[in-house]
Structure formats: structure tokens, C-alpha cells
Amino acid sequence: MNQSVEFDHRAPAAKSYAAGLLIGIGLMAAVDEIVFHQLLGWHHFYDRDTTRVGLVSDGLLHAAELVALVAGFFLLADARRWGSSVGLFPWAGLFVGLGVFQLWDGLVNHKVLRLHQVRYDVDLLPYDLLWNGAAALLLAVGVVLTIVAVTRRRRG
């Protein structure tokens, strides 16, 4: 196995941060799929308004989510097996990942590409506010955790 991408020379802390980020993105995508598509049935699997570009971007994103989830867990396992402590880094990465994906979904997928909406036949504004507000909150937690993790590391 040559040219390993995931398991290279980055320090365990940075590697575990990236792992958390990947898991966060994949996890939020899975939550979106399972809770909103399957359980609540709010989202549509396919929307008549969906453009061809939107469809292709959605397909690529969907495949990337699957890869992100698996790659994230293996990367985390890899970061941990090298023996040094990774501290808060994976958690910080996880929250940033969750927030970034939620925000991407809320702004780009829903509003720019108009792939689908949070819910149909209702006033969208409160749903959109709640959706993107939750995203911003998750992202904020991630940023705070990142700062804490970095400061702790600097102090040693």
C-alpha cells in the first residue's frame, strides 16, 4: 500500500481534528437522511424543481458523506494508535463538522441550489431560522472547543 492519504505524517492532534471533522460531516448528513427523510418525511427524496446540476452535486455530496464517515472513524483510530494524547481535538473537529454541514445544507442546498426544503406546505421562515440557528450554534461550540484545545496544547 503506497501513498497512504489518510494515514500520513500529520501529528496525532491534527489528524484527530480532521477525523472529528469528517465524522461530524458524515454524521449530520446521516441524521438529515434518517430523521428528516425517513422518519419525519419532511424532505423529499427527489423534488420536481431539482436541477440537473443540483442532482449531480447532491450525488457527489452523498457519496462524499459516506466516505467521510468511514474515513473519519479509521482516521481517529489511527490517530489514537500512535500513542500520544489527542485531548479535545476530535471533539472540537466533530462540532465544527456538524455545524458546517448543517449550515451548508441550510444555505447552499436549500436556498442556493434549491435541492429541497426543510418542510413543504408550511411557512418556511421559522423552520429555516431554527435550522440555520442550530447550525450556527453547533459551529460556535466547535470554534470554542477548537480555541480551548489549541490553548491547552500551547500551555503544554
Binding site: 500500500m1 489518510e6 427524496f45 450525488g59 457519496a63 466516505v67 479509521f74 500512535w82 500520544s84
Partner: protein, 313 residues
Amino acid sequence: MTPVHGHGTSTIGLGTPILALAAVLTVAYVAAAIRLRRPGGRGWPAPRVVAAVLAFCAVSATLVGPIAVGASDDLAAHMAAHLAVGMLAPLLIVVAAPGTLALRALDVVPARRLSRLLRSGPVRLATHPLFAGTLYTASMWLLYTTPFGVGLTGNPLLHWVLLVHFLVAGCLFTASIVPVDPSPHRSSFRLRLTVFLLAAAAHSVLAKQIYAHPPPGTTTDEAQLGGLIMYYGGDTVGLAILVVMFTRQYIATRPRGRLRGHPSGVAAARQHRDDQRNDRHYEQNRAEHLVVGANHGAGDHQGAEHETRDKTP
């Protein structure tokens, strides 16, 4: 799909030879594995035997039974059959590592012929991720989105040809992404992951395409169910492919030696990374060694014996 009258007889007529061939290959696999697992043999992991038997089950489910009967006129059953034969069975076959088993179990001369075949240009091209990925994805799109494909699925004879085509294309694709059997010119992890990602994206886009635009001759309900089966079934097997792929990479890049609790973990990790880079052709060398072992065996049995010693820790 247009209902094909009397397809029951043609199902049996063409399904049987394919089923018989699959059965013969599976029996040969199991027999070779049992021989290798006998005391004093070179050994063969039991999970691989299980994978081979499950692969046979997946293939035969598309040849006989309710899915097989429905597959030629119902798009949902057709999709389930294609999922089993084009994705699930190939992954199980690749994990079963029939090539490695054959190299280990065959006599010297046939093993040498096989290793030469595995190294030949056509095989190398066919198992390249870009070639296999394009073949697999393009044939899927042609089948479901062009009139050419619609003509094919209506024909009961070509239905079998298609199943075999998807089994072979699926095996080539999966083997190129997750090379378990020895491959002298293995592509990088990065390339294999990229090709997988693109193929998976194309798969999910096509599933939605079928869901939204039923292929001619299919009802909306059929197409929607078929699209969902393709989408979520593809995800499930895709997840399994990724787990196998990353597990193998994880093991191949493991730190060698003792690291945990080492005072300078990072320095040790770096050292090990360098060691690993020097040793990165480990698997490849091993695979080629196996081939060389078979080659040398013709004159003297030293090569084969050396390989045996390697196997037993």
C-alpha cells in the same frame, strides 16, 4: 418492462447452466480450501470460505426463486437482482480471494500459468480502477437511460447476458478498488478512493433519475421502488466496500513495534512512518514473492517450500 409470456421456461433454460457453473466453481473453491486447511497444509482463513459460499447464494438468488422470476418484467425485482449480482456478490467474491487460493492450491505449472495471466496486459488494464469504474458506470447508465438499454432488458435471452455482464463488471470494479488478490501493479489508495467516490455518486444520481423518470415500459410505482432499492442498496454495499478498503489500509499502515507509552511518542511515530515508507511495497513484494515462488517451483520445490515457511509463524 414488457411482460414476457412463458419466460418461466426460458428462466430455467438459461439460468441452469449459469447456476451449474457457479456451483462447480464454489465446490472447487471449498475443496481447495479444505485441502489447504488440513494439518500440515498452508492454511486458509475460514471467513473467506464463508464469503465464497455467501457469494454463491447471492448469485443463485438472482437465477432461481421469486427475484429471478420477477426480474425480467418487474423493475423493482430487476433492481434487487442487479444489486445482488452486480454489487453484493462481487464484494463477497473479492473478499474470498479466489486468485490467492488458486495460486496456493494449484500445482506448480498451472499456478505459473495463472500468475502469468494475472500479470498480463489485458488483465492489468481490466483491473485498473479507471477502466473498471468507467466500464461499470457506463454500462449502468446505458442500460437505464437509453433506448438501446430498454431494448436489452425486454429480451429474455439478453437478460442473462446482462446479469453475467454485471457480475463480471462488478467483480472487476470491486477488485480494482479493493485489491485482495495479488496485483503486481496496484493503484494508489488515493486513486482507488477517488474512483470509488465518483462511481458511488454516479450510482446515486442514476437511482434518482430512475425514480423521477421511469424507463419506458415501467410504471411510476415500479420505478420509484426500483430507484429506492438502487439508492439505499447501493449505499449499504458501498459502505461495506469502504469498510473493507479502509480496514486493509489501516492494517497495512499499522505502526510496527511497540509505541504505546513510549516517552517520545511522536518521534517514534515519525520513525515508524519512515520505516513504513521504506517498507511500503511490503504487500506487493509478498504478492510477487508468491508468484515467484510458483515460478521457481517448476525446477525445484524450494520456492514453494519457502512460501510455506512464510505462512507458518
